[in-house]
Symmetry: C2
Subunit: 326 residues, 2 copies
Amino acid sequence: MKNFSLSDIKKPIAHELVQFETVFKSNLKSKVTLVDLVTKYLLKQKGKKIRPVLVLLSAKVAGGVTERTYRGATLVEMLHTATLVHDDVVDRAEKRRGLPSINAVWKNKVAVLMGDYLLSRGLLIAVENKDFDFLQTITNTVKRMSEGELLQISKTRKLDNDEETYYRIISDKTASLLSTCCEIGAMSTTDKTEEVSAMKEFGENLGMAFQIRDDILDYIGSSMIIGKTPGRDIKDKKLTLPLIYALRNCDKSDASAILKLIKSGEKIKDVEIVVNFVKEHGGLDYADRKALEFAEKAKKTLDIFPLSESKTALESLIDYIVTRKK
Amino acid sequence: MKNFSLSDIKKPIAHELVQFETVFKSNLKSKVTLVDLVTKYLLKQKGKKIRPVLVLLSAKVAGGVTERTYRGATLVEMLHTATLVHDDVVDRAEKRRGLPSINAVWKNKVAVLMGDYLLSRGLLIAVENKDFDFLQTITNTVKRMSEGELLQISKTRKLDNDEETYYRIISDKTASLLSTCCEIGAMSTTDKTEEVSAMKEFGENLGMAFQIRDDILDYIGSSMIIGKTPGRDIKDKKLTLPLIYALRNCDKSDASAILKLIKSGEKIKDVEIVVNFVKEHGGLDYADRKALEFAEKAKKTLDIFPLSESKTALESLIDYIVTRKK
């Protein structure tokens, strides 16, 4: 598997990404000064822009980028930003993308309201342009994202999870939006149901691979990443795939001991013991294999589209996702 | 002005309110157990249901309650509930309607996510039934509500507000949703633009009167009300109409002294001084007059509708709103 950098992947849509930035920025303008102040700050917290990239590449593969594609990309990026702002409130995160979080600068109240504002602002773009197909999928996605997070919370509280429920959680909380990005990209340029469905399925599988990789990264250490603490999931008592597998493939007494450790402690030494336990019981290898399986599935769904620079970029994006170090 | 109780006002739609409860409850069902648990709890926190009442009465006045009316009422009540749940997070409120708040029982994370869930669940009802006219108005309302709150926050931080900005804030944060209730009620039953506009305007003026009355109640004491602390706005450094008027109609030196007091202290004695200052300078009388002006304006917009039991109920609702003690 050849590795691509994100900037290589973005090449076929370099021009479109610039145009997207313009549309995105102009849609963020508000008559309320504080809103403008916060959105300007948000624009400084530059992310990887994987979601707009997915919308643009999917559109290009399915026919070509249209006006509607830019609106779709703006909609998903606003929604994603809204959830990040809310996430930082609930996780009491002090940093986001190397800069202080909104809640750290302006307090929780502003952060919760800004999240609500960004969500409604995004939906309003779709409403005003009568992109009702976008609305249908995105509203359902917002619902699934919150349900997925809430399901994860209840599993976390009980310190109990299995592989099937894990997939359901990550499908709802992560894959749903990435799937919607690809679906919206396709919908913005074609009416062909088969192509829209294929793109949606591509995004779903890519999203599953993305989240599994995220959960692996929490184990293999990511101290280089600003704002992310390795072992965070263990401290948060989240049972993700590597740990679920390891717990299933060890002596019952070992499993109880590990669960007891997770339950009781947040000490660095305890986290290290859990990480080593997962490694020794093949949890990371198993999760790696599963991520690759979803990645391969994703690539196969692209078979119906003709060869193009953008299709290759989508395939490289999958490779990037399952091998990324942060 | 004759006073009506809320239960009198609800009489013409007693049957419809029961039906609404059924629709509302059935739409809250989720496959995630934790979501069901929280929504069941939310149903126990019984509110006054002013928003569904407005939707149902407006529909009845404009033609009659339809299937769409129930969906509209469900949509606005879900949105309203979502904002209450988020409000309690940002205000760190421990109680809501006499019961512990969601954040108090399940922590902030669940409360923020449940707010997002309820908002998207509400929008999804409109999307699934292709009530795109509802979506248009409601999405814009969500945006206005967050903008209004954010404008209020920036004014609060600077301890600076004037009557014009005050009206803009309360129009966005409160009147917008009440206006949308009446608009949606009318839209659910008629296509006549004039009637829909009249109902929208009725709701806007009712909403203004509602919030001014709310701000008055913060001064005239409301210790009977569970979960509400009198003088809360002063402690929060919110400059509402009674105080704005009083500050404008006193010596400059008095105004500075009062502002200094608000800025420095949250002591009960300080709050009492501010309350007395507002009373002495006619702030409450002025706000009362303004609330009545908006109430009269609201009633006038109903002129185009024929006399009916429901129209009388809407007029009584206005009277109830500007005279209510809680």
